[in-house]
Subunit: 340 residues, 6 copies
């Protein structure tokens, strides 16, 4: 089985526990996460050989992030070192009517200051069959965006499948360029795109759209437009989320393969233990499904939705769900019985 | 902007965590709270200059309570010292079908042994525009009730708005007097009263009533009676609470201004992280609304209800909600989306 | 009032907190539990003199289990010592769509290696009026099954009421015998049996049945069959559980006394703090009800269901509910109001 | 073997951990202790049947204290109920040059408000061979002092050995009587007294003395005087403590039996995990030694000193040392090797 | 009494507990500290009106730092807002032969990006009698160094006493200037300087010296040189530290007033709970002593040394010692007896 | 650089924190350790490619142990799966005069039930240059001893250096054979042996010896005898430990290479954070030193002693010391200064 390579930033996550507000906390739970790393852990967890490529500071905090990658069986051979700091994000977990709150402190991180050409992508990707990146990397700095483009081009040249999670974060994109100046060039190599259609159109510099995910007629038209703009695309998918409250979500999914529009049933997710990384769990499930059987896209979508739901029950960014748990949920058993 | 002064007891709260029963706990979370202090923190939090007046023991535990006041920007200049102990309450937080349990150990506290005349109210209130007290202070001891009356009279003489939360606690009132012997004299100075109508009538020594808060006809009649008894009253409000379980509440509110009956929509609150202090959060929101615009009582009521709902998501007695969160909830967004 | 004696294994329970997965935990909460011990604590808690009989290793971990028994006022005079280890079970508490997970490590425990004749049952039971055992003991080893039979025979000879919880655990029964080879001999002495009808028929070596607990016609027919096979039986009961998710259960109960079919209303249980031991809480409530008034079986069933519901709100195996809380829930008050 | 009965107050201890100051703590470790209870646990721990007599509030916090007694196998049959609260003490554990700090909040406790005659001492002591009390009980209230006298007289009449720990606490004795008005009457029944000679002379209303515990000549003279005043006395002992710092103590002991002066070697105790209750550990060791062999007072003293030293390594008030550990330390092995 | 104003950076401190290495920690204790803030807390703690001036990010983490200032009664009126982040330092607390480890992540903090002229020093200092800064501020950025100079000049013009802690940190000073290019201009206004003589000479661009603090002859010569370079100097002091291990320090002090060389006795400090901030505790003690009696410099030195010793027993950067504890230690009582 | 392979058992360690006794703990810190695994982590930590070979149960607890290996960069490719359980040991950490206490619960573990031939040692060792085992493996079961012999023979045939830590544990060796029946055959292949001479002679079935490690004359004679019995031996070393208390050790070392007797200076180790695994840290340091320069045995011994000392400051079984810290300690700097 070929290897999946993901590329992005891993951060120290400092979160309060038991729904405490920042001002009530005298300690922070410390864990490590980041969109593309989270995808890598999902895949390693499902038994897929997976490598994560990033840039870490050569200090003890960077070493902690590295140990976390290793712990979850993510290959770290191509991690590079340099720069001054590991990016941080602070998380206050909400409940009920109060939403969670993220404070970013990731500027000037080792990953943000990566330089174009820092990584020998041809070497890194030589035994890979899949490359994954997300819209966060081009959002953190111009040089990171450039290096992301290097990666994408190399993957394309090597004939490797490329997946992209749009992951639009309005608090990023502070370095002087807007998504539409950067993303079209990057996305045109993508074979698989995850994200809302309106986000996709926005990032691609198109007119604003208001997709109705319940409308089986208008939706393919919009997706066809996306497939047109991204000539290598064969799969576009999106998570459907209906937020009842910070503690109650309803999760479904839609996938278009250029011809058919596939949907997955909406599932209730309550209580929400931790919703951060649930999109990455969807992405991880989708890649796993497609790697295992690229023809059964309905099953890939079902895995993605089930993984996304289960992630909401797990603390931290990374999805520690098992394939058994995913199967059980797909089969309709949400009973949560004790196994003994 | 004028200052709000609140007067009452602050206690050490010793609570079990993660729904543990007392007999399972080998530590107690330590925080500080009390009805009138909780109101003070709400107001300081919303940017209103606020002072809390109380009596603390001159020992390390009293010093901890003082530091908590300072931390949340509540002015402590008029705190007085003396007596033997900081009152305590033990709290076991329930879940689902099991209610929370409070064990009071507040007898003989420094506040309970305060003597009439201990505080120079004219000096304390000289730059204040609002004075707030609640039915807890006259319930803890005769001398506290007397000093509360001193405060109320001084505030009235100074032309300061007076708000009162009825806060009936049947486990208190142990010193030989019943509410109807004490409260009428106190409440007659009130401009704003918070509490159930039946509690109000009970405390005022009136015949028992069974208000129907859904009945827009009978309700004004009862309120008019209350306005008659309390000649200075211009606003009477109450929280509406429907308890589905210890983890699920439905919260609304009613306000009467002598002419109009205003209501706020019922909101679902689930899960309940901590319901203690939610009435004080309502009170804090109401005062804030009225201080900002005494004419827009509907908005004051909406703020009060939103603050009350949001308090249920926050551990501890005090309400650490922001005005932004209140606005968002008033606008109907209970989605709890992650802000990033 | 006569004494209740229960017999079985007590284990060290090592559980993760806050829904953490095993791989995320760097500590385990340590508590002690086991089906028959849990029943003993319920009864001691309700004021019934209760003794627990088991075999403990003569080491510090066994001593911890003994201290837990004492703490909850369970008589320990007839505990015997020997063998190498206290059995363990690891518990990862699920949430929402993710079920809890139990990993047993109880083989070769002191209780599993108990030998037939190790306990002088005539002496142990001399002042008892009730003996309780469950299907776990005959499932852990052949010698434990034999000693259980010794106990049951002695209790029967002494005319003591015998209750049995079927407690089928498929991960046990590893010593070469199947339930149908062992259980019929044991169950024939039972006066009270708790468990699903299909489990009962399976354990008794009968043809498979699919009881419909909503069908008041077919159900008595099946129960009559059970009463036929177990000649001493006067009460058969079962918990009804509908799992919406790991965090939401619906709980009811059915009891048959040879003539009448009694049912208890279904109650919503959400959130689930800890469902382990909820069946034992039902059993404890049932015994308590029958010990207090063996004629009012409807009340015994109501107590059992309320205790079972309330147990779901309590961490750990043992049910620390009070009779007041049970009464309140039976009366229909699930409001979870703060008592103060 | 006869039973030892101890009488006194048990309190909730609220302590900070890891040397935190009160103002840094957002939780308190909760444990239960009190001089005479601590002695009872020591003895129960060493296998002596032991009962503790006290008065508890009939609330959940009192119930926690009761469970702690049971956990450590202290008989609770003669505990009585009444009064309003369990006494509390707050503890901030020092280190190095900073001493520990105790804040008492024990006034008006259930034990302090016990009334003379509340306990039927003849019944309580009927199967006892030893009664122990300390100078704390007569220090907390006049009625407690009176009830203590009742106990002492009953024990004396029944011919039971009486031991007394002087336990002078200057922060107590607030009810209007001084030790010299109360203690002589109580101490005259004592067979065994633990405490400094200067404290003993002070409490007995004698002229101040400055005993030199290194001087084998002057010391017997002082002790003879004590034996003269207390006609039933056969053993007087004291702990010798040299405080290098809050983290380093040197511990020895002296015992006089009316004829011989016995001493135990000074041992280094560092680090000090928790010194509270180390005097009670000495007392428990002394009683154990004398109960086992009243003639070998040197061995009783050695046990007392070793128990006192070992207590310093144990968190909480109560001494959880084993007899094996005591033997090992008496034998001169302070090496702290891992047993495996 | 006049006010003391201190100026500098406050950081979030993320530390492991119980001597864990970074790679073992899954949470970090969160506290707030920084040299000049630590001095401010010491002084506020001793009853001196004290204000801290800094620049905070306008986000929730900055708000936490502000609450910490308020909690400890440090005036925050002149805190300004702006910039992107609160500086961080990670701390791994050593033990015995293993030293503590600090990882700085403070570049680009709100304080580091402060601009010259951001603070109206004349207004800030108008009711102050003392201004304190340290060598950390000019080390973090050029603009911070410039603003520090603005402050020093304003203080000098207003005739306010200026104290300076040299606080040399080799990991800082990364912006292109060396101490000798920046510090001489700043230090020339100082009335009080704290620091090693060799550090002072290094920062002032002088030839390297190797002061022998035991040599009462050569030392005054060196100090006279320092007084010559810094024309406003009237007091130079230094902590003497002899590190036996990370857990055992010996602390003394030296002070020179231009004429006399004063020394304080060396004290043993073991165990070391937390040594960070002990120099700031010395500084705080020194300022307190001089503010109270500028003539009794021996007493100021003794207070400084005692405060420094006691700080080692307290977790966190800030010194929470009381004046009573300082007095007790100065009097020679290091016994750490329990106060009860 | 060649690879080091170690072979043995990894256990779940359940330890109390803050010196709590087992009966005081309501949670256990969970970590993973075992003699040969601990050595592997040391080496991986120092940059040596290292693999650990063991047998794990195929359950979630085994998976946790595997993740711990990966986290610390120990190769896990040759781990095999089977059996029922991960072995456990309980640890109560002592202090001062109270020693730590270990309760083993490792019987019937997956490693203990490994069968001879389970591992293809030729394949496992093909790219290795060093093989390490210890006396624990042959002590846990006969089949484990047999498989250990298979490993040793294969290593010997492949010409790989073999090191052995005697690691005598009297609580093991329960399967019917004594060390002298098993160890001579195993040890005769050893090139490097770590352990006391008396243990070595005991295990080899020789007459008892009482080596005096301070006597440079008699010691070589004894070592020569050992070299005679073990024909492949080129290095024998032992840790010297002088236990002042559980919190204070003095550590040195002796090494004999067949000709010269080398010693390392005794170092003070206080406080002891955790002494478990300190012998493994010595072994890891020794192997590292010899792998780097097999001729400089003095340096290898110095590294071993420094690593052993530093391990005492680190919680858990595994040694997380850096080479920099070892160098610093060898250079004589035990000052524990903060690095910043």
């Amino acid at each position: 089985m070929g290897k999946v390579v993901t590329f992005g930033e891993i951060m120290l996550r400092l979160s309060t526990e038991r729904h405490l507000r920042f001002s009530q906390a005298n300690f922070f739970a410390a864990s490590y996460g980041g969109g593309e790393f989270n995808v890598a852990v999902s895949l390693a967890n499902y038994g897929i050989p997976t490598a994560f490529v990033t840039r870490l500071p050569d200090n003890e905090i960077g070493a902690c992030a590295l140990k976390e990658m290793r712990k979850f069986n993510v290959e770290t051979t191509n991690v590079i070192y340099g720069g001054d700091r590991l990016g941080i994000y602070y998380l206050e977990t909400g409940a009920g009517t109060r939403g969670s709150n993220v404070v970013y402190d990731r500027a000037n991180s080792s990953m943000a200051t990566i330089q174009k050409g820092a990584i020998d992508w041809k070497a890194v990707l030589k035994d890979a069959t899949w490359f994954h990146w997300s819209g966060i990397t081009p959002a953190i700095s111009e040089s990171a965006a450039q290096e992301c483009l290097e990666a994408v081009k190399a993957a394309h040249e090597l004939g490797i499948t490329i997946s992209s999670d749009l992951n639009y974060r309005s608090k990023l994109w502070q370095y002087g360029k807007s998504p539409k100046e950067v993303m079209p060039e990057l996305l045109k190599y993508s074979n698989v795109i995850l994200g809302d259609l309106d986000t996709a159109f926005f990032m691609l510099g198109q007119d604003k759209v208001n997709p109705n995910y319940q409308d089986e007629k208008s939706l393919p038209v919009l997706y066809d437009k996306l497939f047109e703009i991204c000539p290598n695309l064969n799969t576009a998918a999106t998570t459907l989320r209906y937020s009842i409250s910070a503690s109650h979500q309803q999760i479904g999914g839609v996938l278009y393969d250029g011809k058919r529009l596939l949907t997955a049933d909406i599932k209730d997710v309550t209580p929400v233990v931790d919703r951060v990384g649930s999109g990455d769990a969807f992405m991880g499930g989708l890649i796993y499904g497609l790697v295992n059987d690229s023809n059964d896209k309905k099953r890939a979508l079902d895995i993605a939705v089930a993984a996304c739901c289960l992630k909401h029950t797990i603390s931290g960014d990374i999805n520690l769900t098992t394939l058994d748990e995913i199967e059980k949920l797909i089969s309709g058993d949400a009973s949560g019985k004790v196994s003994r």
